[in-house]
Every structure is written in C-alpha cells, then in structure tokens.
C-alpha cells in the first residue's frame, strides 16, 4: 500500500518561461543535475522522465535514454512516463514504487516539457490529446473548451458568477512574486480578472495557465539511505493515482472529479491523515475551475462551495488551506509534463522551510495534486517534513 520509507532527498528546477535558447534535453538535464547536486550527488540507479508532448512538439520520443545519456548517466535504467498533464507526479509514483519495493536504491524523477517551438494551433491540438482524441479533440473541442464546459456548468448549477473565481487567480499571482522560478511574478487585480479576454467562454486568459517550457526534478531514496547519506529529507507519506473516464461526456456527474476523489481518498488512507491535517495544498490550477473542483473532490470544501474559500480569503499563505503557494500553474507556469514535479519541488521547499517570502508557517504536511486531462488521471501526493 503506502511507501512510508521513501524520501525526497534533493530537488532541482529551471525557471519556467519561454526558453527560446534551450532545448527539451537542456532543460531536463539542467533540472536533473541540480537535483542530484542538491541530494549530495548520490549514485542514481533509475531515472523516470515525465513528459507529455515531446513526440508531437519536439519530434522526440525515447526520453528515458535521451536524458540519461545527456545527464552523464549512461547505462542506468531509464524510461519515460506519460499521463498527459499528470505525467510529472505519475513519474514520481513509479519512482516511489521502485524505491519502496527495494528495486532501486536511489531514483531520479524529472518532469520536462518544451512547448514553445511550435505554432499555437499545433500546441492546442497536442494539448487536446489529453482528452478523448476521436470524440472530443477531433470534434474541434480544445482543451480549454473542455474546461470551459466544466466552468459553465458549475456556474449554472451553483449560481456562481465569473468574478467570484477571481481570488484564485489573484492568490496565484501574488504568490508567484516571491518565486524566482515563476513565469509571471507580478500581481493582478480583480479588475484585471474581469477584463481579461476570453479564450473559450467563460474561461479567460486569466483563468488559464500559460504555454511555456520548464523542467523540475527530485531525487528519491529510502529514508534509511537518506539518513546514511546525511541528507535533509522530506518523506513521501502517500502517492496515489486515481483515474476517471477519459471524456467529459462519459462522466455520470460532470462536476465531481471522480479521479480526484479516488486519488485523494487513497492518499489520505496511505498517509493515515485527513484533509484538516494538511497544512498547504498545491492544486492543479491549469484552469481556475480545476482548483475549485479539486478542492471539493479532496475534501476541503463541500460541493459547490470551494469558491467561498477564495472569497473568504482562506487560500492565502496565512489562510486555512493555502494553495498554489509558489504561484501555481497559473503564475509559476504550466510546462505540462513538468508541472507535477514543480508542485513536488515547491512542496519540498515548503517542508524544508526554504520557501523564503512564501513560507507557510509551521508547514509539516503538504499535499500536491497533479491532474491529467480534464480529470482522467489524478495523482495525489502527501509529503511530510522529517524532523
């Protein structure tokens, strides 16, 4: 079941942004080598690479061998993991299984995405591959549009106005200011939010995470190995994947992220904790509506009430449940296959007390939730500071 003995002993990340001068492999290697250095340069046995779109946007498959080769790790076990936007945390899940099972001693996990080399329409089409290719994407529904269908229905059923989603975006941007790796380290106002142009009604530019490049990595080892290496560790208390129908139209209940419900329940069970024990929550705010649905599915708000968490200022760094503490997907950026790893790197920094201006006080238990597609794959991870 759980892997109580797995710890994160090193983290690394690149700045998220438009890296015109850097390739997919440059980014992955950069983040990976930073993480290995941070871990005290242990010998790596296995590498898992989380990525969604290298085949379509870079013309590159076979990322396990590629990254191992260019990171100077030739010869090790190395494979790519793909679960759409959930690829990063899914790769971590496999890393945890490798360490937890004793199959590997020290494992590296890197998430990487290079999105800015191709024209917008191609990127849009590639992102839509996270949905049902034949019955959503080929019908002309972009990934943004699918989230817009969720948001429209949510507003309709719960009587929520678009403006009421603003606090999620404002909070993310406010937190990005203190994150040196964030793509948009500037604040925005409620006015900015209401005036933002539509990408797919009612999803506006300020509801949407950006197209960008980036890579983030962690090094995993057993708690015993971490102790032997003398590294400051963050323990992985839970790592759980839940799935749901690939297509929105097959959901019995459109507004319940069943995959998140399952994934979070499994994670709570693995860790033996409940939502009230969580000190901060890195949600998958690819679109504002996903933050809301994720909070509800994970037990932080009742159905139809997560918007209130924002309106009541409960999601800020000092709030009841701080979310997107380093800017989230909205303002740190959303290099798709790397996002889950960014969340884990940021949660690790919070739990190591290294989050600087964004430090959540007395953070002991942090949760991340990485979502693939419109909720078809959900990976929930619970991390704990090791005293």
């Amino acid at each position: 079941m759980s892997n109580p003995g797995v710890a994160i002993i090193g983290v690394g990340q690149t700045v998220v942004g438009e890296h015109w001068g850097r390739s997919l492999r440059d980014l992955a290697v950069d983040a990976l080598l930073s993480a290995i250095r941070d871990a005290g340069s242990p010998r790596i046995a296995s590498l898992f690479v989380g990525n969604m779109m290298a085949g379509e946007l870079t013309g590159q498959a076979h990322l396990g061998a590629l990254v191992a080769d260019f990171a100077g790790l030739r010869g090790i076990e190395a494979v790519r993991v793909e679960a759409a936007c959930g690829s990063g945390a899914a790769a971590l899940r496999l890393g945890c299984m490798a360490v937890g099972s004793g199959a590997a001693d020290v494992v590296a996990v890197v998430g990487v995405e290079k999105m800015t080399d191709r024209p917008a329409a191609e990127v849009t089409a590639s992102l839509a591959m996270a949905a049902d290719g034949d019955y959503e994407a080929r019908q002309g529904l972009s990934f943004v549009a699918l989230n817009a269908l969720l948001m429209r229905r949510y507003m309709h059923e719960h009587g929520v106005r678009r403006e009421e989603f603003a606090p999620f975006c404002i909070n993310a941007h406010r937190n990005a200011v203190g994150n040196a790796h964030a793509m948009f380290p500037f604040p925005i106002s409620a006015d900015d939010f209401s005036r933002a142009r539509m990408i797919a009604d009612p999803v506006s530019l300020l509801d949407s995470s950006p197209v960008c490049d980036g890579a983030a990595a962690v090094i995993l080892a057993s708690v015993d190995t971490a102790r032997a290496l003398g590294r400051r560790a963050v323990r992985v208390r839970a790592s759980a994947v839940g799935t749901d129908t690939i297509a929105l139209h097959d959901r019995g209940d459109l507004l319940e992220l069943r995959g998140a419900v399952t994934s979070a329940a499994r994670a709570y069970e693995q860790a033996g904790v409940k939502p009230a024990d969580i000190d901060f929550f890195e949600v998958h705010d690819a679109f504002t509506i996903l933050s809301v649905l994720s909070l509800e599915a994970s037990g932080f708000a009742k159905r139809g009430e997560a918007v209130r968490l924002g309106l009541d200022d409960e999601i800020g760094l000092d709030g009841r449940i701080p979310i997107t503490t380093m800017g989230g997907l909205k303002a740190r950026g959303h290099p798709v296959g790397a996002t889950g790893m960014y969340q884990l790197v940021e949660a690790t920094l919070q739990l190591r007390g290294e989050a600087g201006a964004n430090q959540v006080r007395n953070a002991e238990l942090g949760m991340t939730q990485n979502i693939g597609g419109s909720g078809a794959t959900v990976v929930t991870t619970i991390l704990e500071a090791v005293a």
């Binding site: 329409a121 849009t124 992102l127 049902d132 269908l149 009604d201 297509a247 929105l248 459109l254």
Partner: protein
Amino acid sequence: MNAPHTWRQQAQRYLLEGVQCTACDHRMFPPRAVCTECGAASMRPHRFCGGGEVYSYSFVYHPPAGHEEFAPYPVALVRLDEGPLVAAQLTDVATDDVAIGLRVEMVTRRVREDSADGVIVYGYKFRPAIPPARR
C-alpha cells in the same frame, strides 16, 4: 493521411451509432465493449435519434489545428434524448442564442479538414431544432 481513421468511424459520425447493453439496456455513445452501468460485455448497435439539449457550452476562439477555418465556433455537451452526453460543435446558431437547455438536433457537417487535398471529415454537429411546420 487520415482516410482510414475517418472511414472507420462513419457509423458514429454520420448516424450517431452507439451501443445498447444487452444485459441492462443502458445506451452509450460512442460505442464501447464494456457497459458503464452493469459491466456486462455484450452490446448491440443503437442509433440515437439526434435530438437533445445543450447541457453546457463554450466558444472556441483559439482552435486546434484542423479547425482553424471555422473559428470562432460554439461547442457544447449535448444531452441526447436517450440519455448520453455528446461533445460536439454547434452550428447555425447566433452567439446570443446559445444557452443551457437549448433544444438542438443533429446535422451532418464538415467537421475538419486536414489539408486542401486530403479527405474531408464529415460528422455530427448540433443546431437549434427547427420546430415542426404548422399548417
């Protein structure tokens, strides 16, 4: 070259052909091998009538490749009269008329075009239902 891909799904795209579970009569679109209600793996084809109503909708201003020539266009989840939701474009409708609950009917239209010299992909879209004529 998407000809085989397009060809294979004609029954779905032209006729809204899904399946009905032989064990519990649950109707599904698109077809699948295992019933989402009862788990049985025995299906017979079922053609949906094409009537339904808008369950949720949006407008695509930034279309994916293959759909650029139609932008901007409305998309929707349509609740078919027989139960299932279908994701599709709306057509022949003014922006202001799109609303949750709008009665729609299936029509066959050009859905995408991969290139000017490639096969044309025809498929279902939905438009506001034209009410029956009165004498």
